[in-house]
Amino acid sequence: MNESTFQGQQVVTDTQSHVHDTHHEHHHHEESFISKYVFSQDHKTIAKQFLITGMIWAIIGGLFSVLFRLQLGYPEATFPFLEDIFGRWAQGGKISPDFYYALVTMHGTILVFFVLTAGLSGTFANLLIPLQIGARDMASPMLNMLSYWFFFGASVVMFASLFVQTGPASGGWTIYPPLSALGQASDGSKIGMDLWLVSMALFIVSSLLGGLNYISTILNMRTKGMSMTRLPLTIWAIFFTAILGVLSFPVLLSGAILLLFDRNLGTSFYLSDIVVKGEILPNEGGSAILFQHLFWFLGHPEVYIILLPAMGMVSEVMSINARKPIFGYLAMVASLFAICVLAFLVWAHHMFVTGLNPFLGAFFVLLTLLIAIPSAIKVFNWLTTLWRGNLRFTPGMLFSIGFVSLFISGGLTGIFLGNSTLDLHLHDTYFVVAHFHIVMGVASFFGMFAGVYHWFPKMYGRNMNNTMAYIHFWITLVGAYLIFWPMHYQGFSGMPRRYYDYANWESFKQFIELNRFISTVAMVVFAAQLLMVFNFFYSIFKGRKVTSENPWGANTLEWTTPVNPGHGNWPGEIPEVHRWAYDYGKDGRNFIPQTEEVSEHESKH
């Protein structure tokens, strides 16, 4: 949508209701429910759609983890209510191995793709790009709408796969063939796997439509004066995220399609020399490892697709609430860029023990550990941003600080795993589980929570309840460490991940009490997330109304819009930008919005 077509909110509503009236007989001056809330092309509504769909998925995915933690924490116990709900999947109140693996697989798939990719970057890219760069909407609101509806389609297919007779995919979220290619090898590799692949194909389409839109919007639709170096770090982070997604998701799509061929058309891309359950298969010449290359070429950038937007939001929220500029803006952008480039060059560090040529592996060790440098720069810059600030602990700020703590903890364990020598010992143990849950799972969630609490007033014109937010934060931070910190010790014992039961293992059975403890904490933390969800929905309708346009005293453009901005965002002209986004505490002034012209008396920096 072109700027010139919008002279103000009034005009927008008028044009749209005119268009509307020609299609409908009755007269009214509101958009219809369908075009306003369902097939909306307003980026803010699409953002909310992504967020709420993501939250629903997060509850499902989180609940799955509670269920499989029941098995891990209480392997001897039976829970009759499980049989009432799940029938033969939990006969006698005990989760069956097939069910366990289906839960583990869907937990990973849902949280990585549907919650932390769509729910996180889908939400905040849509919400923040037009608002923070000063645009009426995305470059193509239509594609934007389609992006959500493809995601919705992917969600429907994935949700349906939970209910098929043989169960959903159950070979791990990484769906390595041949396990995922052969229905004979596992029930989860029957129709559930086809649905998984179809769902993922739809998801990738959604992600590409969104990503291309984000990139073109950021490059072309910035308001006057908004040079790239004046962009808030959120936008930079989303920009690099979109580039990562656009370049890597197609590779996963190709991998998924070849897998569909192997499954249904008798090809042998990934299959060779296979005897499964006594049946000799005709496939020869394929390589199971090829899939892993294709998968991780997306799979590794994917973890940065999840993490970068969180980093961007944390930088923004932290600077605002420290009342101090983000330290080293250009270094922050440069490190995002470095991470973005390196993200493409490290995928084989997931494959050190697949028989990968050790010489080739050496390069991946080097490139992987290089990522620690931009990560270190970011951490020290965040620390320096806090230093001598005047910190306001809003819920968004609490989660931003929590993010940094988790990013440090989980990032440092990456130095273990990226080193192939140590990976020989730690690969696929609980050390890995601890590492990626802390650094990309919980940390990204913290970034997302920071974003939700911080921008909720912009989304709904109301405030969330602070007390519930504080309780949510402290339970989640403490709980995350209680759950994942001891898992490093399980990893140090070589305890493999994705085991249904450890009772028969002389080497791993010593952790039963610990597993029980972890499971109990996981349930408490899950309950705290429900509190957050409740707070969210309650506040949409009953939260205290926001009275000021700029409740946080922030510099960026979204806080120059009305409390409840209409489609088109600014009722009048789009504001012009005169400075970067981080003039907090400059020349003794609390904050200087980006729209304020630089006066000649201002000090230089």
């Binding site: 023990v353 600030g389 910190l391 143990t429 309840n465 007390t467 002389e506």
Partner: protein, 349 residues
């Protein structure tokens, strides 16, 4: 019943939290937003400090509780594992120092620079010297870690010594099949299309290849202490992984693509029982790559023993070829008189 009870308690807890949260909102309106904000800010700043102190104590306590249950304090059972342990401690030391310093700074700053009306935030947008400092210092430390890591990696992954005992391990859903090459030291050729477990050829060995005739198929791996061993690793159906936690080694088993690892076992099973103080101790092979519903039960056993014990163990093992031919003498009468293969195998030196 207890399920509903827990649900009821959860529901009540929610209600209580919600009521408190609502009430605190009203109180904040009555007391004044600014005052409430300052109060909450102080509480959260205090909690950050408390979290730091209790967290560090907790990390120490966690170590006390679990250190002995890990392999960290136990000697590695292989020579490669010893290098891996050195690398591990080096990395723990470096990352541990960084962890403690950065976490202390993070939470201490959060507490120290909490909002007060008196202070103005310090306008400090950038400092190139600092940026350079925390680019170069981490880079130096990483260079050391990468350097040692690759040095060990190259040593561990180089070709196995010629005298290494060859053992073939094949993963299938959900157990491990083990084959020894016999006296000739050569594993017989395989063709997966010949696989037929019911007629005794579970591995698909091509009996046409004479070097297969002395190959022994067993269910346990036996290794001689201080003698290098090379595992040739295969899979029949899906990807598995030979996980050897006590030897600190791991390698995927991939259908169609044989992989190898080698190492020298340093400690016999009997010695390890003494070291760990666990009379049931046994070296286990864990499947470390998700392979289906029985993944968690795909357990193999390795026995490390002296040369004499090993010889005794192997002496009564009959080559699989012989077993198969004895079972079906009518089909191939020639097999029974294959004297070279029929003799019990002498110990492989």
């Amino acid at each position: 019943m207890s399920g509903y009870f827990i649900l009821a308690i959860l529901g009540l807890a929610f209600l209580v939290v919600f009521q408190i949260a609502k009430a605190s909102e009203y109180v904040s309106v009555l007391k004044g937003e600014e005052k409430t904000f300052q109060q909450n800010n102080r509480i959260n700043a205090f909690l950050f400090m408390a979290f730091l102190v209790l967290g560090l104590i907790g990390a120490y306590w966690c170590n006390e509780l679990f250190y002995d249950k890990t392999l960290l304090g136990k000697p590695s059972a292989s020579d490669h594992g010893e290098k891996i342990d050195v690398m591990m401690w080096m990395t723990i030391a470096v990352t541990g120092v960084v962890f403690v310093i950065t976490q202390i700074l993070l939470f201490w700053f959060s507490w120290r620079y909490q909002y007060t009306e008196k202070r103005k935030a310090f306008y400090y947008p950038h400092n190139n010297k600092l940026e350079l400092l925390w680019t170069v210092v981490p880079a130096l430390f990483l260079t050391v870690l990468v350097g040692f890591g690759l040095y060990y990696w190259m040593g561990i992954t180089k070709d196995a010594p010629k005298e290494a005992q060859v053992v073939e391990i094949t993963g299938k859903q959900f157990n491990w099949l083990v084959r020894y090459p016999g006296k000739d030291g050569v594993l017989g050729r395989k063709n997966y299309r010949l696989t037929d477990a019911s007629s005794g050829n579970a591995l698909g060995v091509d009996w046409e290849d004479a070097s297969s005739h002395d190959d022994v198929e067993v269910s346990e791996v036996h290794l001689v202490v201080n003698k290098p061993v090379k595992f040739v690793i295969n899979a029949q159906d899906v990807i598995h992984d030979v996980g050897l936690p006590h030897f600190r080694m791991k390698m995927d088993a991939v259908p169609g693509i044989p992989t190898t690892i080698w190492f020298t076992p340093k400690i016999t099973t009997a010695e390890m029982k003494k070291i760990t103080g666990n009379k049931d101790f046994v070296y286990e092979i864990s499947c470390d790559q998700m392979c289906g519903s029985g993944h968690y039960a795909m357990r193999g056993i390795i026995v490390v023993e002296t040369q004499e014990e090993y010889n005794a163990w192997l002496s009564d093992k009959k080559p699989q070829y012989v077993t198969v031919k004895e079972a079906a003498p009518a089909a191939t009468p020639a097999a029974a008189v294959d004297s070279a293969a029929a003799k019990p195998i002498a110990a492989v030196k």
